[in-house]
Structures are given as C-alpha cells and as structure tokens.
Amino acid sequence: MEKLFRSLIIINAVLSILFWSMPLIDYMWLSNDQIYLLDQAGFGAFIPNSIFVYWLTLSVWLALFLGLFFYIKVARTGYVIMTFVTFVISFFYGIQVMSPYEAALSYVITLNDGGIIAIAYLTSIGVNFEKSS
C-alpha cells in the first residue's frame, strides 16, 4: 500500500509540473488557430491572471506532495483543503479552454487527487500519518 501511495504522489507531482509548464512549451507545436483558441481562456473571469499566483500554486502543491510523501499530518489536511479551494477558485477564473493533452493531464491529476485522499484517510496508510504527528 505504501508503494502505491507514494507512486501516486510521485506521478501526480510529475504530471502537475508538466501541466503547469504546458503553456511555456506547447506554442512550439500548436498552429495559430489553436493558440488563438487557447488565448480565449479566462473569458468573463472575476480574478485576473497572475504569473506569480500561477507558480505559487504549483509550489504549494509540490510542498504538499512532499509532505504527503513523508507522511506529515498537516500536509494531508492541507491537501484536502487545497483540493477544495481549487474547486471554488476555478469558478472565478472564467471560461476554460483546454487543449486535448491539457484536458487529459488535468483529469488524470484530479482523479489521482481523489485516490490519494481516499488512501491517506481510509486505509492503513492513515496510521503512518497519526504516528508521525
């Protein structure tokens, strides 16, 4: 179970880095039409896009993954809070336009989030978090 849990965390950390880095690299193979379409993301947003917040969010996620990897209890609670905060905040970022690869990555990351939460709280892994506290 520990192997599975830690593998999920590593996979999610790697995919998150890839997902966050996509806007920096995907213009290399996208056509102008596709770039124009992706630029439409954020239509009707309440919160303006900020590069600082963008990278800060990734840093927070990575810190939480690190905490989960070493069974730090605060990281487990923080992970759940961050997951739910992400739902709420996504509402204020307006219309999201996603390329097929971004959509696939995003869905796999979110799916893994659910699996990580279930394993961290409801299996024998939960004991490791209790011990570490």
Binding site: S31, L37, F87, Y93, G114, A118, I119, T123
Partner: protein, 144 residues
C-alpha cells in the same frame, strides 16, 4: 455508507453536469464556439464521431456501474474504474473543448469523487461488497 453516499453524489453531479454543459454551450461566447469548431473540424476530424460514440458508450457503462456499486456487487468497482479511466484516455482524441465556470467546478469535484470512489472500493471496502465466493471456493473450505 461512505461508498453509497459518494456514488450517489457522483451520480447527481454527473447528471447535473450533463444538463448544465448542454445548457451553457448555447450561452457561450460566439467567438469561442466558432474558433473551437474551426480547430476541431480541421485538426481533429479523424474518427472523431466514432470516438464520440465510444465515449457515449463509456458514459452509459459508467452509469450502470454506479448502480451496480449501489447494490454492492463486487464487479461494479472494475467496470467503474475501467469506464472512468478509458473515458480519460479518449480525451486527447476528442479535440479542444471549453468549460464554463460552473461546469469546471462541478467537473473537478466529480473527478476527485471518481478517484475517491476507486480508492475506496479497491482499498478500503472489505465488508461493503456481497460475498464473491464461488462454489469451488466453498467446496475447498468444506474439505479443509
């Protein structure tokens, strides 16, 4: 209780998202819809209809597996996991898409719930499912 509650919330969210995305597609900005159709028709036309039909089949399988999970049959977890994972494997083949804020929020919640249900049914549900003993296993235990 936790599994049933999660599956029920999942079903409610799934149905809401289906109706909401249809409703909001009509209210989306025309320029986004036009650009989207332009890109998808030129660069993702290859077998798109077939993939879409396959995706509809998988969504139907997903609903069925939810019902099977609710009536506590063990095989429901395999069909549920397979339908969810296969649906996401199809994403890169279905082209670009947009999500409105409400749908984005509910869709994320639904995805986390899918992962949660998979984790729960595979690794934390020893007593939830009905016995899966086959007649052969019963004979073995009697012999022992």
């Amino acid at each position: 209780m936790l599994i049933r509650g999660s599956v029920l919330i999942f079903l409610i969210l799934r149905i809401t998202i289906t109706f909401l995305s249809d409703f909001e597609r009509d209210r989306a900005p025309a320029e986004i819809v036009e650009a989207l159709e332009n890109v998808n028709s030129t660069e993702f036309s290859f077998l798109r209809l077939q993939f879409l039909l396959f995706a509809v089949g998988l969504i139907a399988l997903n609903y069925v597996s939810c019902v099977v999970l609710l009536i506590r049959y063990n095989w429901g977890k395999y069909t549920f996991a397979a339908s969810v994972i296969l649906l996401h494997c199809l994403h890169p083949l279905l082209g670009y898409h947009f999500i409105t804020p409400w749908t984005a929020m509910l869709e994320s919640l639904n995805m986390v719930l899918s992962g949660f249900i998979i984790g729960l049914t595979f690794y934390a549900s020893e007593s939830y499912f009905r016995s899966t003993n086959t007649p052969n296993k019963s004979f073995k235990s009697v012999d022992a």
